[in-house]
């Protein structure tokens, strides 16, 4: 078991190096660079910079250096000094920008994952044990709807309805009067009135898929001989279903724990943008648009670290729950 974990961790290192390099390259692939984007932004707000000034900025920020040199400058500072560089656009240290938002992102993603599971597991089990019943169809229809409606649209509709019918304050994570204030009980309570919208939106999309997976896995398991044996032993349905088939059917859940965070970062950026959440998504999107490569690259790197750690955790959990994994 220990050697297994060790192997997984060792593999993580080349993976991360590879990912960091590829992401750094991809961010810079579109034509132009940060200065082009910056000049465009200035122009849009009625300000001009001359070609000479653009060239000076490029030289100042080292954008003319070969890609490898730029990459090394960035990654070596991270490895040796823990310094993620400066965001060209925000004009401040990347780490100042990232950590606060990362915490919130983690909180929301964990909560939405728990929420997803709370919906998906019971519903999946129910659908499998009562296949083709009325409720099975109802859940299926809802599930497909949840999968089919784009998250951002659902977010907009929910916000609009909340605002019009409940007259609640929506958008963002807290009401304006709490923004920029230190966290206390009042602020936390206020956050709860805001956070349910993103949670519902993110959970419905995720839950729909997982319900189907759970249902299919359960159906496979329920047909196996050991289930019949258990029934023959006189166990009640509840005991049989929850003790064995459910545990096996949970495999895909456990193996995707590690992906919950990247999913929230990437797949749900638009939702975060629409809801105006102070999470990492909107910041990452903007950084990519502006080719602010230190900020975007650092984001993707941190994200990859989380993904790799999450995957290792999933693997360990799987190995614990399913001996077959360890020896294959």
């Amino acid at each position: 078991m220990l050697s297994y974990i060790g192997r997984r961790l060792l593999w993580a290192i080349p993976t991360l190096i590879f990912v960091s390099f590829i992401s750094f390259v991809i961010i810079q692939l579109p034509p132009g660079d940060f200065v082009t984007a910056y000049a465009a932004q200035l122009r849009n707000s009625g300000d001009y910079i001359t070609e000479a000034q653009e060239a000076a900025l490029r030289a100042e920020w080292g954008l003319n250096d070969p890609l490898l040199v730029q990459y090394w400058r960035w990654i070596s500072n991270i490895i040796f000094y823990g310094d993620f560089g400066r965001s060209l656009e925000w004009n401040s240290a990347v780490s100042d920008l990232i950590w606060e938002r990362l915490g919130l992102t983690l909180a929301i993603s964990t909560l939405s994952m728990v929420f997803t599971w709370l919906i998906a597991i019971p519903v999946g089990v129910y659908s499998a044990t009562r296949q083709y019943s009325v409720f099975d169809y109802v859940f299926t229809v809802f599930g497909f709807l949840g999968k089919g409606v784009p998250d951002f649209l659902l977010a907009l509709i929910l916000m609009w309805m909340t605002f019009v019918w409940l007259n609640m304050d929506v958008g963002g994570l807290v009401s304006p009067q709490f923004e920029g204030q230190p966290w206390d009980l009042a602020k936390f309570g206020n956050m709860l009135t805001h956070i349910w919208i993103p949670l519902v939106v993110l959970a419905t999309g995720g839950a729909a898929g997982l319900i189907r997976v759970m249902r299919a896995n359960m159906l496979d398991e329920l047909r196996k001989p050991y289930v019949e044996t258990a029934y023959a032993q006189g166990f009640g349905e509840r005991t049989v279903v929850w003790r064995y088939p459910v545990r096996v059917a949970l495999n895909p859940f456990i193996s995707t724990v590690g992906w919950a965070l990247p999913a929230l970062f990437s797949g749900d950026v638009i939702t975060a943008v629409v809801l105006n959440l102070p999470t990492t998504g909107p910041l990452l999107l903007q950084a990519l648009k502006m080719q602010d490569m230190y900020l975007a690259g650092s984001f993707i790197l941190i994200l990859s670290v989380f993904t790799v750690i999450g995957t290792v955790l999933s693997d360990i959990l799987l190995a614990l729950s399913d001996p077959r994994i360890r020896f294959s």
Partner: protein, 603 residues
């Protein structure tokens, strides 16, 4: 807020903070002090939003609702211009102070000129607006309050340019001849040693000391540095990257209302971060925005109106000095299409083939007007005839014109064929929200005259880059700067619009860009501007400038569609002294023309 500080002895009394003869602003209604004005901003790139709320200039534009634009002195008591327009004299308000209480004198002007403006380490190249004919302005200090700016050649439009661009780089608020020497000398290589500069750079977390300067400079951009002394009505308190950026009133601001109360009335301005338009619109209808013009979009007008009661605000309008236009590229690489665009009849057909009234009704809620890309009402260059040039809808005549230029062969779908046998297709690129719907209408209009318009939605960066790289055929473009054209005639001359390469050739004196053909009318535009910028007096200059505008409009290089569109503002019902019906333009500094210092909030 301030009187408490005075009582605590942390601040001198108000008469000691004001200049001897403070500038008097005639406000519509005497206001109350206090309040926190909430608005929204889009991130670090949105520095100009907050900046335009409170820019200071030696001279600023002012306007009475619906009236003409006039120049009025800013933080100076008087200014004069010599007979030959080569010498400009400015006198600072006596007793004017920086926001930290230090006096503002001509020593600050000298510091700006000698140690920054002419300092190659900080400013590698001088903006041509301050160096007409390539010779930088000269400065003469007369006494503690008075200084003179001199040029080798007449410079009739210098004041207009100062009111717009002021003294340009470095720094974000374009210091307008003034830099707080007592504070900034510690970051200047003429006063500080190399080690001190290194330490300062390290303190601000930048790589080298020159990064402290410039419009993104950690030390000299007011937006970044709360310690920087300013003369603006507010100063930064909590800079980005905080989620809420706040600005707080400057206790030493130099202006008073007619009753002698020091301005500004409002204590604080808070900017909340958002990134998506819908998120911002929700803030508005929930009543979380007290007053804002930036990002309030005409296409959401009905939505704003419907929710006025709910959000306790009213929608107010100014007029934008721009015309939404189709800008063809006269330097495009497709020779056959370029040849067509060089024909006046073809351009006229494209212009009168557009049903502008329908576009105004459907896209702009009928709030704009069908017009050409020409100076707007209230501009000193306004001309009613130019405004309507080729702006009527006449598809029949358009078809006749197109037949006349030799496009009389059509394919099976009814589209005209070019001389080389290809269909007449024009790719139009757009990045603004109102683009797609507008292009639907125009494409249908153009189908009626046998021309295929192919709309492409692209990213803003790409949209800009394509003009730089000369790789577009046509763009949907907000053609602005149509108020005081003298302050910035560049886009009319093709810069960054319909003939960027020709303009480059002109502005670099032939070292880059493309030379226009010898008989090309754009050469008249260039010679007119040369005339205007060298003219000995205003009459001559204005005559040449108006010729330039006339050539630009009558040639019809740019196809204006709808303009004088509304610049909408959200104004809360308790937010007072907000003037209506002014011009919104970059030249007149956006919301700045409305004098935010006079606005107040009923408690």
């Amino acid at each position: 807020m301030l009187s408490a500080l005075v009582k605590e002895g942390k601040l001198p009394a108000v008469d000691q903070r004001l200049p001897e003869k403070p500038t008097v602003v005639e406000v519509p209604e005497i206001g109350q002090y206090g309040g926190d004005w909430r608005r929204a901003y889009k991130g670090p790139g949105d520095r100009w939003g907050p900046t335009k709320l409170m820019e200071e200039r030696v001279v600023k534009w002012s306007q009475q609702p619906g009236g003409p634009l006039k120049l009025k002195p800013g933080y100076i008591s008087s200014y004069s211009v010599s007979e030959d327009s080569r010498e400009f004299t400015f006198t600072l308000l006596k007793g004017l102070k920086w926001s930290d209480g230090q006096p503002v004198t001509t020593e600050d002007v000298r510091f700006w000129y000698e140690d920054v403006f002419l300092n190659k380490a900080i400013l590698a190249n001088i903006d041509q607006t301050l160096a007409p004919g390539g010779k930088p302005m000269q400065l003469e200090i007369v006494d503690e309050q008075t200084f003179k700016v001199k040029f080798d050649q007449p410079y009739v439009y210098f004041l207009e340019i100062l009111a717009k661009d002021s003294t340009g780089d470095p720094s974000l608020d374009r210091p307008s001849f003034l830099f707080p020497k007592h504070y900034l000398k510690q970051f200047n290589n003429k006063y500080a040693s190399e080690d001190e500069l290194k330490a300062a750079a390290a303190k601000f977390g930048v790589a080298k000391w020159t990064d402290l300067w410039g419009s993104k400079g950690a030390a000299t951009a007011w937006w970044q540095n709360p310690d920087l002394p300013v003369i603006t009505a507010w100063k930064i308190e909590k800079p980005a990257p905080s989620d809420v950026v706040t600005m707080v009133r400057n206790p030493y601001y130099y202006a008073v209302d007619q009753a002698g109360n020091q301005l500004p009335y409002i204590d604080r301005i808070s900017h909340r971060l958002f990134s998506d338009q819908e998120a911002f619109n929700l803030m508005i209808v929930q009543g979380q925005v007290d007053m804002q013009m930036r990002y309030v979009e005409p296409q959401d007008f009905t939505f704003y109106k419907e929710n006025e009661k709910k959000g306790n605000y009213a929608v107010h309008r100014w007029t934008q000095a721009q015309t939404w236009s189709l800008v063809p590229n006269l330097n495009m690489k497709d020779e056959a299409l370029r040849g067509l665009f060089e024909k006046s009849d073809f351009r006229q057909a494209l212009s009168i083939g557009i049903d502008r009234e329908t576009i105004n009704e459907l896209i702009f809620s009928g709030l704009a007007e069908a017009r050409q890309a020409s100076p707007v009402t209230g501009s000193p260059n306004y001309d009613a005839e130019l405004e309507k040039h080729w702006a009527e809808y006449d598809p029949k005549k358009a078809n006749a014109l197109l037949d006349k230029v030799g496009l009389d062969k059509r394919d099976s779908e009814g589209f005209r064929l070019r001389p080389d046998g290809k269909r007449v297709q024009i790719v139009v690129e757009m990045q603004h929200a109102n683009g797609p719907k507008t292009m639907e209408i125009i494409a249908a209009n153009y189908k009626d005259i046998g021309i295929e318009l192919l709309p492409r939605i692209i990213d803003r960066t790409q949209w800009d880059a394509n003009r730089d790289n000369n790789s577009f055929q046509m763009q949907w473009y907000p053609f602005d700067r149509l108020s005081v054209v003298a302050a910035d005639p560049r886009i009319m001359m093709g810069n960054d619009s319909y003939a960027h390469q020709y303009y480059l050739w002109y502005s670099t004196k032939g070292s880059s860009g493309i030379e226009p053909p010898a008989d090309h009318p754009i050469r008249r535009v260039f010679t007119d501007w040369d005339k205007a910028s060298k003219a000995l007096n205003r009459e001559q200059a204005d005559a040449a400038l108006n010729d330039l505008i006339k050539t630009f409009v009558t040639e019809g290089w740019v196809i204006g569609v709808v303009g004088e569109s509304p610049a909408l503002s959200i104004v809360k019902t308790n937010f007072k002294n907000f003037p209506d019906n002014l011009i919104e333009d970059d030249i007149t500094r956006g919301i700045g023309l409305g004098a935010t210092q006079q606005m107040w909030m009923k408690q």
